[in-house]
Symmetry: C2
Subunit: 692 residues, 2 copies
Amino acid sequence: MPSSLPGYRNFARQAKIDQSFLAIPDAKLAGEELKTLTAEPHIAASPEDYKTAEYVAGKFKAAGLETSIVPYKAWLNMPISVSVEAFGSNGAELMKGPVPEHVDDDPYQSDSRVTPAFNGSSPSGDVTAEVVYANYGRPEDFKKLTDMGIDVRGKIVLVRYGANFRGVKVYIAQQYGAAGVLIYSDPADDGYFRGDMYPHGPYRPATSVQRGAVQYLFKYPGDALTPGVASRPDLPASERLSPQNAPNLPKIPSEPLSYHDAAPILEHLTGPDVPHGWQGALPFTYHVGPGVKVHMVLKMDYKYRTIWDVIGRVKGTEFPDEWVIAGNHRDAWVYGAVDPNSGTAAMLEAVHGLGALLQQGWKPKRSILFCSWDAEEEGLIGSTEWAEDHAKELEHAVAYFNTDVGVAGPNFEAAAVPSLKEFIRNVTKEVPSPKGGTVYDAWKKSDENEEHHRSGNGSSTHSNNGAAAGAAGDVEVGDLGSGSDYTPFIQHLGVPSTDVGSSGPYGVYHSVFDDFAWFTLNADPTFVYEQEMARVFGLEVLHMADADVLPYDYVTYGKEIADYLDAAQKSAANNNVAGLDFSAAGAAVQQFIAAAGLVRQKQDHPGADMAAFNAKLRQVEGDFLSEQGLPNRPWYKHTIYAPGEYTGYAAVVIPGVNEAIDAKDSARAAAQLAVLTQAIQRATATLQAAAQ
Amino acid sequence: MPSSLPGYRNFARQAKIDQSFLAIPDAKLAGEELKTLTAEPHIAASPEDYKTAEYVAGKFKAAGLETSIVPYKAWLNMPISVSVEAFGSNGAELMKGPVPEHVDDDPYQSDSRVTPAFNGSSPSGDVTAEVVYANYGRPEDFKKLTDMGIDVRGKIVLVRYGANFRGVKVYIAQQYGAAGVLIYSDPADDGYFRGDMYPHGPYRPATSVQRGAVQYLFKYPGDALTPGVASRPDLPASERLSPQNAPNLPKIPSEPLSYHDAAPILEHLTGPDVPHGWQGALPFTYHVGPGVKVHMVLKMDYKYRTIWDVIGRVKGTEFPDEWVIAGNHRDAWVYGAVDPNSGTAAMLEAVHGLGALLQQGWKPKRSILFCSWDAEEEGLIGSTEWAEDHAKELEHAVAYFNTDVGVAGPNFEAAAVPSLKEFIRNVTKEVPSPKGGTVYDAWKKSDENEEHHRSGNGSSTHSNNGAAAGAAGDVEVGDLGSGSDYTPFIQHLGVPSTDVGSSGPYGVYHSVFDDFAWFTLNADPTFVYEQEMARVFGLEVLHMADADVLPYDYVTYGKEIADYLDAAQKSAANNNVAGLDFSAAGAAVQQFIAAAGLVRQKQDHPGADMAAFNAKLRQVEGDFLSEQGLPNRPWYKHTIYAPGEYTGYAAVVIPGVNEAIDAKDSARAAAQLAVLTQAIQRATATLQAAAQ
């Protein structure tokens, strides 16, 4: 337990509250909550999903939160039927699928409410075409095919999961003129090549499929038909886009496959050997094609469906307009034991702890909101619509704390805006780890351990994308990309955000096997990491709600931006993008750092009335937003962080500038550099005013 | 064609001879010779091996060489029977093998003279034991098992080919107390993971086995019972060791397996998941064991067997005692189309060209010897015994030129002592490449191409081991390690040596499928690379035989030694080997470089009588030998190059010093540094005398 922390005149008082809180979250209860939440498949907008909303609302109410279930109406697809057949060059049938997901011994797999595996946001389609294998479906993979003289126009592109967001694979395939996409899980990436398969271990078995949205979320997340607008049930149709005009909906059909179903296709592809690095772990030599024709028929039921966020509030006594928001999604592709309900159980136990404090008479200075989002899997819909609904109030929100995959294993991980990296490290120094010592100690140890398995599902984990700059000598807190519900808060509205979780070997992501049986065998048999995450998540909320001075660390933020500018300048040189003058931006960020240093002194020695100072501190993140947003994707307004247009989940830093450099567009890069410089200057002026 | 070359007063005269020579080697004839040589399995000491000796002798004689077939008597094993059975923990039989090597369509595979796959130098044995998987069987792999608490004493160690010489795998397993070793070919290393399998491509099919010697050749090569002594047929038994006292014979049985036979064993191993990097390309998760028992029974027929070198000579007119030796082995594990008879065919066409020159009345200044070695596969036996037989004459030999895998594909490669790296580059600038331009041009291009497949059979290729120091900006010529017949010449006797070949994807190494059918499908269908290698190999001989001044480049040699000393000094620091004073060695090598510079000036402006100068130049390499040899392996006398004790084929530079540092033995390192310093000082004194 630290004796002092930034933000507190008297941390001893807060430390007592923390101790009272930390005593409450309960491993056994978390396990029971997880079991209840994952008893049935509960895909967004289903009756079972509504049951989980009521369950969570009940828990919120029991803790003393003012609770409501908030519906939105979103344009969503559900599969009516899915068929994929493959034929060799002699016309012989090679496979007819998909086969249902099945292993020898899993108590949950046979529920009739399990939907066929499908891609959220895929259109219906009936395509027969030659197959081309395109590795991970990255820009460089499609370019390589072009260099080999292979045209994917009119073809069905077979790609493997990993290295980027699945929506990016479809996006690039569509740009190259493909007629359809099949996305399979190669055992090299999350199957037997990594370790034993479920039920013998945590990795993906042969028939297991990674479902998932292929929405172009790098354009905008949320309901496809209402970008920037809350899709309240009463929003008239005239204020919604028509589906064919929705920029974040793919135009070509796509379908996820198990390696059981993909192997016969891959094995019969002929043509050139694959380029170096494209071979996976299936027991034959991969080729790019031709040699196999696939007939894929996807019948999707698209309609407006109602989804349900659950919001629980405690009003702040001193600064009721300064919201501290903590959220986790509740909907799952099937059972979602890890993703997301390990996070939900942790959140419920954090709420449990908060309820105990409330019962003891404690009240927060700032308002606290716990949010159980719906339809995250289809494209961060519940969080995005609610954030769009409350954009005005959120201008004063002091933080959004996210957890999605709360517990997939024992390794704590975090991502945050730079201003909250020190904050999250400090929180973990107060929470005991099941491994002994504090969460911080264990985190540091696993960070230092080269053999630490960062994530079991290749590159497709939700959180902690990208390496953080400037964290030398301390545990790494990642940058916020996308793939979970912090996106509307930080990247659309400028609410300082964090994302926490606990990872481990996890090969059943988005499959039927992400269930309570898998969880108790592999992730956290005694739910002690659930308890840990409840404590971390809850302490984040408590610290932010009661701090005398908002504990943002803008010196680190400035240094990270300075690093980003240096890297972009080098990248411009490497890409032969001439005529860029980084000097104004460089000067701006140095002034930002200087002003942040003065502000930090004031933060460390707070006076009596910090209200106006705090308001200025909060405003800095908002200053980083640009009114016009990023080129071609105006919903993304943050000038420092965005999900990459060609990576999807992974963060791109100073995205306007870097993506223009990558595109070798010097005019756009110069314009975006000016936008960035102005944003830094706005933020600097706010810091300078705060330092007065 | 260069207009001048180091070593020639008048290169124009030599250039005309070169042109006459280059016109003769014939692609079609090389193909016919290769087909004849590989018509039957011709393992060393077999009647078919003798037939190939007679065939080669006939070609030598036809070219006008004074030719003899020289027999030696060596202690060799042949398999009587081989059996490997595996049982699961419940006693059920998992496999019973080995199965014969077989693919759907190969015309050579079914010959009754194909021996079962076996390891040369393995003892007989009958062992039943639990299996432990030990990855590549490197020191770090066995150490990892120890760290995991796994004891291999009394166990059968299952290792995969790659990363080191197979004899090293057995050597370390023996040191760790294993009862036996199974060595299999994982498809990750030379099978379907790399590319299409034979007959659809060049890589190793399921049943294909890599035979090979497990002789501890890093102790000494050649006949196991006569280290340092020629095993002439009349050498009395009293002057031969008894087999149980021969230090280069393994004490535990070992047997090579195909992945077809190894897979059921690996698949049923239980226990811990394998460490990172140990997983191969078979379609299941690898474990280290236990869970599988193997019963292996090897019955070997050990006896003295007669082998046959073929030696063809042309006496030199001016310096008959200065031998220029060119050699290639002839014996093969089975058919040996690539290894070694692609080299034999190239050598025969080089001899063909030489014969044409002789017919035109040309005579070499120095004596030329072409050598067709036998029993290389069992441990460089034919070359080693002959070299030991002629140790005295070889003190004046000016070069040994080797080719083993002459042609496995289109990528020229070379290894050499540093003094001959410039020489070999110059030779390749005169020879046209089938790709256009010169061999040098094509070599440079493929060297620059990152995607160039250096070798198809993982790390187990014979030649060109290790990266060369000091070749920045020019094509890489590797260092000489071991694994082919240059070893007795350079490392035992100090004859300056080179090794050349042409590589490509080659997954059938040491299997029945290394046959004429594979060769014409994959390596060189029109034998144009055979022609290229004949020209390169022949020009090496011609240039060395007729040079006015021996074209050794001692400046480069000195610089490389200086680099080795720098690296060793860093390695000593990293290994905390204190108390080593590199200053004397460093000073010695600087004096060497200075003297080499003066010598080079004299080489570049040769006077009329260079005999005494040439003799001094030749003596320098001999000065690098130490009388006592390396610690625990006195046969290896060269202080700059040796095969690594724990790598086998790969070169270890300044081996006495570096291996002592690796063993953290500072006393031994200091003593070896003194030995090395004295060697450099001897060589420097010789150079200084030459420069007078």
